[in-house]
């Protein structure tokens, strides 16, 4: 399994054709206390860059984009009851949705952890 990052502060864990997507620790820190998350329904087809989920703090609403194309296999229902998981464990229990990838070659443009750390450090 390997983890990639996007410039939109999302992470994606890939295992073969399956992947899980969430937002990074840096993103949750910027967002503040998360009060609501809307995750996509399973079966939804997403193109790379499409709006996939919504994450809201008190004063800001942000769209979470699909980092690569695919079909949603599961949304994280736990976030509906406890959106604060995004703050407490953004890169673990706070995952947003799982995808069946339709084009794994799209992963090639994404960053690895070291590259993302450098990207954030330069912001």
């Amino acid at each position: 399994m390997s983890r990639y990052f996007t410039e939109d502060h999302e992470w994606i864990d890939v295992d073969g054709n399956n992947a899980a997507v969430g937002i990074t620790d840096y993103a949750q820190e910027q967002l503040g206390d998360v009060v609501f998350v809307e995750v996509p329904e399973s079966g939804k087809e997403l193109g790379k860059g499409d709006d996939a989920a919504v994450v809201e703090s008190v004063k800001a609403a942000s769209d979470v984009y699909a980092p690569v194309s695919g079909t949603v296999s599961e949304g994280n229902a736990a976030l509906t009851d406890d959106p604060s998981l995004v703050n407490t464990d953004p890169e673990g229990e706070g995952w947003f949705f799982k995808l069946d990838l339709s084009d794994t070659s799209q992963l090639e443009g994404l960053m690895d952890e070291a590259a993302y750390k450098e990207f954030v450090a330069n912001l």
Binding site: D8, E10, L31, G32, S57, V58, K59, A60, S62, P83
Partner: protein, 524 residues
């Protein structure tokens, strides 16, 4: 993920320090503090068997409710009149209003609300008439609408007007729908509305509500619309632009006429958000700038009360090109009589109208107030209004620019409001802290975190109804608070200390929304 880059804190900060009043040595037994009296909810103090009205006896009659009698308890508590007066009087004292003090909320135009307006709106000849009364029985009401319409058309230099929109955002919708109708009438299915990134959120929301795609236009370093970028984006898919002028940075869009000409040349229409008309009323006619539609917030420029969040009123003036598409109903003068043009007679007068936006004819209660205000000021007074509003704002700009970052001040004068950023505050101190510090000093804060193009924006609009002394007092207090923010004074971080409530936990409210009272709820 898209990021929050306006500098607005989104995490509730732990400010549970320095308890004043309700805890510790200064606590009172009741929680009251002299003139600040805590008040329960009516659901805690009232009873479903108590009432504050006396009704005549009910005649005998066999029910004809068709078996739909409501048998379950509704759960509506009542209070006697004495308790009711006290309940709402106490609650009122937890509010800040223009009547109490300086209220420099940028872009909102919190000017004095003359009481003559209130008196006139309550004349039974206006307040106690039904919208569907026979037309011959409400000629005076139609005349109010017509006179107000004439004033607004004259002040804006525009030939037509729709009076029925209920508020500014509703007026925006009216204008955008008229634009879409005009395009449809010529078989032109354009899809995009351009909106500057400094626009108020209602602009993109309105365009989307009307079925358009919204694209941002960037701003120049001077805080104005980037004319070159705008012109470059124009094309056969652009239905129009929505521009606020004076804009939300408090600046006049110098290129407005050029923008209008370019948009017209490309086959589009120009919508102007008239939220800031207060700065130019009597000085500039939007009709001379090539505008096709503009709403006017009667509750801003023309002094009708904000009422804690409405009701507003948002008539829309139109260019000749859009006039045929204006909504129903409207009042037309025919000889000595006024006639309401509605669905039934629209065919002959107004076949291309896009239809009705509201039941009845709009915010009559606001029309009487606004007309009263205009008659009071007259054409000469309204010109003085904008001059004094702009003078007061520039005075504030020059009185604060040495201590607060004013990103657009170098480019010249502002119009009716002055914009500052949060640059230079100590680590961890934000615009929010400045606002809460002002509360303790007895002022209503300025607009904060708007417009979005400036980090930690503070938008200060004094209006023309403030005296120099009131402004000087505010400037003195704000300079003091800014000094505290720059030095990192912990006391400011915990402000307000003296308001009826300390900072409220908005995260809790949003995570577990409690929107109605429930008898079984645990005390929080």
């Amino acid at each position: 993920m898209s990021m929050n880059n306006q500098g607005r804190p989104t995490r509730s900060e732990d400010v549970r320090i320095q308890d004043i009043g309700t805890k510790g040595a200064n606590a009172t037994f009741t929680g009251n503090r002299a003139l600040i009296l805590e008040e329960k909810l009516i659901f805690e103090s009232g009873s479903i068997d108590r009432t504050g009205v006396d009704l005549p006896d009910i005649p005998d009659a066999k029910s004809r409710l068709g078996g739909l009698e409501r048998s379950e308890t509704i759960g509506l508590p009542g209070l006697s009149e004495s308790e009711t007066v006290r309940h709402y009087t106490r609650l009122s004292r937890f509010n800040y209003g223009i009547d109490l003090g300086f209220f420099p909320l940028g872009s909102c135009t919190m000017k004095h609300n003359p009481r003559l307006n209130e008196k006139m709106a309550r004349l039974p000849g206006f307040a106690d008439i039904h919208p569907l009364q026979p037309q011959e029985s409400v000629q005076g009401a139609y005349q109010v609408i017509d006179e107000l319409a004439t004033w607004l058309k004259t002040l804006t230099g525009m030939p037509a007007i729709a009076m029925s929109p209920k508020a500014g955002a509703h007026g925006e919708l009216c204008g955008i729908l008229a634009i879409r109708s005009a395009l449809e009438a010529r078989g032109d299915a354009r899809e995009v509305i351009l909106v500057p990134e400094s626009a108020h959120g209602t602009n993109p929301a309105t365009a989307a509500f009307a079925g358009y795609k919204v694209e941002d236009i960037p701003a120049t370093k001077e805080g104005r619309v980037d004319l070159d970028a705008l012109v470059a984006r124009l094309g056969p898919d652009v239905a129009g632009v929505m521009i606020t002028n004076p804009n939300t940075c408090g600046l006049f869009e110098r290129d407005m006429k050029k923008i209008s000409d370019a948009v017209h040349d490309a086959g589009g229409f120009v919508y102007c958000d008239g939220a800031n008309f207060n700065a130019i009323v009597g000085k500039v006619r939007p009709g001379d700038l090539g505008i096709d539609a503009m709403h006017i917030n009667l509750h801003k420029t023309f002094s009708t009360p904000h009422g804690g969040g409405g009701p507003g009123s948002g008539p829309v003036v139109f260019s000749a090109a859009l006039e045929p598409f204006a909504p129903l109903p409207f009042v037309e003068k025919q000889g000595d009589t006024y006639k309401l043009v509605e669905e039934e007679n629209a065919e002959e007068h107004h076949a291309q109208s896009f239809g009705r936006m509201v039941a009845f004819h709009g915010q009559m209660g606001m029309f009487t107030r606004a007309l009263t205000y205009m008659l009071s000021h007259g054409g000469d007074g309204l010109k003085q209004v904008s001059e004094d509003a702009v003078l007061n704002a520039n005075y504030i700009l020059r009185s604060l620019e040495d201590v607060l970052d004013a990103p657009f001040a170098p480019s010249g004068y502002c119009m009716h409001e002055a914009l500052f950023s949060d640059k230079g505050f100590a680590e961890g101190f934000t615009t929010l802290d400045i606002a809460k510090g002002l509360i303790d000093e007895g002022f209503h804060p300025m607009t904060m975190y708007f417009p979005l193009v400036v980090h930690g924006a503070m938008l200060i609009e004094p209006t023309e109804t403030e005296s120099k002394e009131a402004i000087d007092e505010f400037v003195g207090a704000l300079r003091h608070i800014v000094a505290a923010a720059k030095s990192g004074d912990a006391k400011l971080k915990a402000a307000p200390h003296h308001a009826p409530r300390r900072r409220l936990d908005e995260t809790l409210a949003a995570r577990k929304p409690v929107l109605v009272y429930k008898e079984t709820q645990d005390a929080v």
